[in-house]
Structures are given as structure tokens and as C-alpha cells.
Symmetry: C2
Subunit: 413 residues, 2 copies
């Protein structure tokens, strides 16, 4: 693809104007929105206003006056629109890991059978997903809960009548491979097993239809393609058919039906509210609220269409180079089978990644030897792919990645 | 006490200059720092900087460049100085409710005996503390965990060899009564039981000596007397003697010994780090970090001395009035037996509280009929007590609290 083509793609991009919603540093090409989304300008404003005007000015009265108390549900309802769920099926709270614990326990409680104890997942699922199941397993004992791990390709066939729930991430964090959640739910339900979906790498970047796909539970994060800031509160979805019997052990006062009665006995609120635990982190949640407004007037079909174009352009742009064969594409070669990222294995992945960052092209490294390029359709441009590939070509041809500066790894990679 | 006395107390106050650290609205007297602390000016600055400069400018690189990754431990170490703990015994994370779950489970695991299953607490403990135990109870079954509730006055005598742990809040949220945690730990340990202390209403307002008192576990919140903002991340303390065997079921990737190896098997980090679960909420945690700097150059003995003076001045100022007998002081009458609040029962507590708020005096209401006045020594002034009592006198003498505007209760009281 030549220079003209990239420029033409930008001119034809119906989402091009959305880049103005974001504060992006000049001279940086940011292909790491799959790890930490960029700052929406409105979020900076809202965070300041929440801090200085609401907290600073209206103090405790803000809980009513600025509807702080209903933020988890109102923000949840906005997220619901992006993942094909009903407004009352999604709530914003805690971290994705803590929410995983809740839904793993909720699924065990919903299935109820003492004959079943298997939580089925994939060996290369994001580790915290597996760790949270291992935590439940250690706590309850393996006679009540056991994590079973299989390869991603074997997942559907491994579901059986011992399965309590399948815990699957829609888009794999390493490879970007996309699982067919609808198919997974169909098979799981045929065994009376449930599905817990992790949407960390898909929410906000592809159309998700949790209701239509009949997903039972889901969790997701807001700091990647939803651009709500580092460690921003996560979300949790519970299909409405599980609301009446919903049980999870993190019974905090914000999940009580009448928290301000201060009654010593827990009585869970109706529906999704029962997933709340402690006092909501207001400043962070206002950030999520504002960040979601970047999706106003945009359909996820448009976002997905651009995402497919972006990964396609990068993949084929890289493939033209002589050194391309050094990079092993570990993402599915066909764009429709992956999320919005491309991952390549290379023996010097860490150093190449650092050399790119040094030149203002931000990608990331994942152990043991992967370099990931994440594409955020709301702000990435096609011309950035062109520049990034020029820089990468220069790094590869000059072997400048062998610079001793990049031999020592940083704490967070 | 006459006008001259209040003014003199302010002139003699060694903490008077600290008020300048806070952004307080003019014409507001804020006696609700026990619910939501006021905004420290430096927090507003740090929140803006973290959002616009760090996240917005340095993006993903900030995890290393701005030490985001070590915030839970560095902020924890700062909190440790305020609660008489070692730097490596405290970490900042999650909500107080979620942290309660971790320490309840950790205590059960540490005691280990299958003969013991009682978590002992008080009927009027803050409800979320009780709900979290009820969650463990429901999840594990009463054969492994059972919440036993007694009156506060019976707590020490109720400890026996069935007790896994005593869960006690140092300062009662309703009455302000202060428990003797050192005595509690002494008795509990004599039965080989453990102590979990909730410091929500004491951290930052009185000297706490967790190590000296031999407290096993503690949780606390940062948005009351630590002034870190609505729903700011909480903290958790684990006495160093429990570190080696520390186990808790919320095993997230940030509690892993090598999170960025992305290994599918959980291996807990050493010590207090094992209490971490998900990705830290950076913006909120930078707020905690900055808020703690308000304690620079201040000793908690000074804070406590002023707190005792404040509650004493309010109590005795109120008692001079004809209508004082309508208010039943439910806080201990002697200042040393309470935290930094005064609570009064009154049949019209809700309406009186609303009438005060309407006149710019912010107190709060707690069901069924309590009005609470919280005193924050870092920013409250003695002259504010004088004005608040003048307003209260006018409300009581005119019976303006009977205004129909205040018949309907707000969502958050």
C-alpha cells in the first residue's frame, strides 16, 4: 500500500472527526489503546468539575444533588447499550477481577447442583480470570469447585455435564483471536452449563450482543477501548433470567435493598444492584460516564468496520517488507477472526517494542516474545500506520533494537 | 462558653493554619468530615495533573514513569505511619467492604481449626461489616463460618474458644463510642482468636497503634478523616506475623508474585501485596496519595487534642440552651471515650438536620432518629461551633424544622 492509499483511507473515514474528542500528545502514534485508552478531552473536564465543583463545593450534598448515588446504575445502563444488554442488566463497579469473583460464585449458586464443580476455561485466558477461579477453588475446596483448562481450540468440545460454567474471554489478550460466544453459549446451554464472558478486549471496539447470544454473565473493563482512565471501575452484566435468584458472597452495603436503613441483616437489592459492594468511587465513575459519551452518534458496526480496515492495513503493510518473515503473526490472519489488535512473535520482541516507543510509536510487549499493536478506531488514523511501519522498517533494517538500553526490562511491560 | 472563648480557642489552635490546605466553600460550616472529608487543594491539583499530564501526555508509559504500578504499596506505606503499622503491613486498594471480605477469609485461614467457626461482632457495627460476614457465611455454610452478634458492652466477655475472630469498629458510626482495641486484642489472643479492626471512623483523627495493640488485621477508609474523595480506595493492614501464611480468595493478577509473566497459575506475592486484586484505580489513588500530605508536620496527638476540645466545646455549648433537654446525647459524655463526633437522638432529627443544612451548617442524619456532628481537626474552627449552635438555637426556638419541605427523605441521608 502506498502513501496515497493511507491518505485516501483517512479521507474516507466516517469516524475521522472523533479523533478531536481525544487529547493525544503530538508526535506520538498510540497503538496501545488495547491496554490503556487515550484521554477523552471531556473526561479531563469532568474529572476537574467533579473534584473542584461537586466534591469541593457541594461536599456531602453531592450524593443527591449530582446523583452520585445512582452512578453505578446510570453508567451501567450506558455501557449496556454498547454490549447488547438491557439497561438493568449492567452495573459499573469494582475491578474486573473482583467482578469475576462475583460472577463465578453467582454461576455456582445458579447451577446449584452438587454434582457439578467444573469451571472450564482456556490455558491462555487472561491470567487474572484463572487466578480468580483458583481463589474460589482454594477457598471452597476442589470438591465444590475445580478449574479445568483446555486449549482454546478444544473449548467447545470440552463442555459436558460436569461443567458449571465456561469462562471465556471474547478476544484473547495475547493473540487477539476472537471466540464465537454465541456458539459457546448454545453448546454450554445444551449441557445446562452457563457462560461467563470477559469483554476486556472487545467492549467498545466491536458489536457485542449479550442478550441475543444468550450470555449468562459478563465482566469487562472500561480503561481499554472505553477510554475511562487507568484502573477505572469495571462493569458486570447478569442476564435478566438470573436476577431473581442472584447470589454472590461480596455482600456490601451498596448491594442492600435499603442501605440507608442501616439494618444489621443483609437483604439484597433487586436485580443487578445486588452486584454492588462498597461505596462507589465517584471521581473515577464520573470519568467512565464522560468517556462513554465519545460513542454518541457512532455505531459499533462503524467502529468494527474501521477496526477491520486498520488491522488489515497494518498486516499487509508490514508483509511487504523484506524483514517481514522475521515476524510471526500469531493473530488470526483473517481480520474477522480477531479483535482490534495484531500480535507478532519475534525473538527480540521486547527490544523492538522499546525501540518503537523511543521513536514515539507506542506498542506493547507481552511475555515471552510478543509485540502487540492495538488499534482504536475512535482515534487512530491510517496515516499513523504508514509512519509506524516506516519507523519499524528503519529499526529492523538498522538493527537499532540491539541497543543495550533495552536489555533490561521495565516493571510494567 | 461565650464568643470570646471560641475566638481564643482558635487563636490558641496549633493546627489553625491547616485549614488553608483545604478548599472549603464560603458560608458553609462543614461538620460532616466523618462522612466525606473536605477537598484538600493539593488533591484537586494532583487529580488534574494525573489526568491531563500523566494519562493524557505519557499514556501507558506512566505505569513506570510515574510509578503508577507501585501506588498501592507507596500509599499504603504512608497510611501505615498514621495507624502505627510498619510500611509493609498496609496497602491501598479496593473498597473497605471488599477488604473486609479478604481479611475475614484470611483470619479463617490463619486460625485453620475446623472446631472454630464464629466471627464475633456487635449488633450496631457498621452494617457492611456484618453483611460481608453474612456473605462468607452464606457462601461457605454455617458449619464453617457463623456470625455471632452481641451488644457492644458484652463484646469482650463473648470471646471464647469458638471464636475465629472479633470484628470490631474502633469508633461506632452512630454513637461515636470508642472501643479499646488493645484490650480486645489481649483477650482475643488469650483464646487464640484474632482481631479484625475497622478504622473507618478513627484513621486520621486519633492516634492508632496497630502494632503496639497487636491487632491482627484492619481495614479503613480514606474518604472520611483522610480526605481523599468520595468512594476513594480503602486500605487494608495485615500484621507481619500473618504474612507468611496469608491466604485470601480474591486472587487477582496484581497480587501475583510476577504479574507480568502472565503465568496461568496463581502464585501469591510476598506479604501485604497478596491483598491486591485488580489493576489499581490510578487517578483515585493519586488523590489518596496527595490527601495524606495534609498530615505532614502534624502529629495525631495534636489532632486528637483538638478533636477532644471541639467535641467538648460543642457538647457544652449545646447544653447551655433551654431546648437542650430535647436532645439526648447518645455519644459517651466523656470526650476520651468517643471519636471525633457527637450524636444526638431527637424525634425530629431528620428535619432538624435538613434545617441546619438549609442554613449552611452541614451535619448528617442516621436512621432512625440521630443527628451526627463530625469534627475534623484539620479544618474545623471553634468559631464554627459558635455559629452552628446559634443557628441550631434559632431553628429550635422558632421550630422552623417543622417546615413541610423536610418531610420527605432524600435517597442518601
Amino acid at each position: 500500500m502506498n502513501q496515497t492509499d493511507y491518505a485516501q483511507l483517512d479521507r474516507d473515514d466516517p469516524l475521522a472527526h472523533k479523533r478531536d474528542d481525544f487529547q493525544l500528545p503530538p508526535d506520538i502514534i498510540y497503538f496501545d489503546g488495547n491496554s490503556l485508552g487515550a484521554l477523552p478531552k471531556r473526561v479531563a473536564e469532568v474529572v476537574n468539575k467533579t473534584t473542584a465543583t461537586q466534591w469541593g463545593g457541594d461536599l456531602i450534598k453531592s450524593w443527591n444533588q449530582h446523583n452520585w448515588v445512582s452512578l453505578p446504575t446510570s453508567v451501567g445502563a450506558k455501557i449496556a447499550q454498547l454490549i447488547g444488554a438491557r439497561a438493568d442488566e449492567v452495573i459499573c463497579c469494582d475491578s474486573i477481577s473482583v467482578n469475576l469473583f462475583k460472577v463465578i460464585c453467582a454461576a455456582m449458586s445458579a447451577v446449584g447442583s452438587h454434582d457439578r464443580r467444573i469451571i472450564l476455561s482456556t490455558r491462555d485466558n487472561f491470567p487474572t480470570d484463572l487466578y480468580m477461579v483458583q481463589g474460589v477453588e482454594a477457598f471452597l475446596g476442589q470438591q465444590r469447585c475445580e478449574l479445568k483448562l483446555v486449549d482454546e481450540s478444544e473449548l467447545i468440545d470440552a463442555i459436558d455435564d460436569q461443567t458449571v460454567a465456561v469462562l471465556a474471554t471474547e478476544v484473547n489478550f495475547r493473540t487477539g483471536r476472537r471466540l464465537d460466544l454465541a456458539k459457546l453459549a448454545e453448546v454450554a446451554h445444551s449441557f445446562n452449563a452457563l457462560v461467563i464472558a470477559d469483554l476486556a478486549h472487545s467492549a467498545g471496539v466491536m458489536p457485542i450482543q449479550l442478550n441475543q447470544w444468550q450470555i449468562d454473565y459478563a465482566v469487562g473493563c472500561t480503561y481499554k477501548y472505553l477510554n475511562a482512565g487507568p484502573g477505572a471501575p469495571a462493569f458486570v452484566y447478569v442476564n435478566q433470567r438470573h436476577h431473581a435468584a442472584l447470589k454472590q458472597p461480596l455482600q456490601g452495603w451498596f448491594g442492600h435493598s435499603r442501605p440507608f436503613d442501616f439494618n444489621p441483616d443483609y437483604q439484597g437489592a433487586a436485580g443487578i444492584q445486588r452486584m454492588l459492594v462498597g461505596t462507589p468511587p465517584v471521581i473515577s465513575m464520573q470519568a467512565v460516564n464522560a468517556a462513554l459519551d465519545c460513542f454518541d452518534g457512532v455505531s459499533l458496526e462503524q467502529v468494527r468496520a474501521k477496526s477491520l480496515q486498520l488491522t488489515h492495513a497494518f498486516q499487509h503493510g508490514l508483509a511487504c517488507h523484506d524483514w517481514a518473515s522475521e515476524f510471526e503473526l500469531i493473530s488470526p490472519p483473517q481480520a474477522q477472526h480477531r479483535g482490534s489488535q495484531l500480535s507478532y512473535a519475534h525473538p527480540h520482541a521486547y527490544q523492538i517494542c522499546q525501540a518503537l516507543i523511543d521513536r514515539g510509536v507506542i506498542a506493547d510487549f507481552r511475555a515471552p516474545n510478543y509485540i502487540r499493536f492495538g488499534f482504536a478506531p475512535l482515534y487512530n488514523q491510517f496515516r499513523e500506520i504508514q509512519v509506524a511501519l516506516e519507523q519499524l522498517a528503519d529499526i529492523m533494517e538498522s538493527q537499532s533494537y540491539l541497543d543495550p538500553r533495552w536489555q533490561q526490562r521495565l516493571a510494567v511491560t
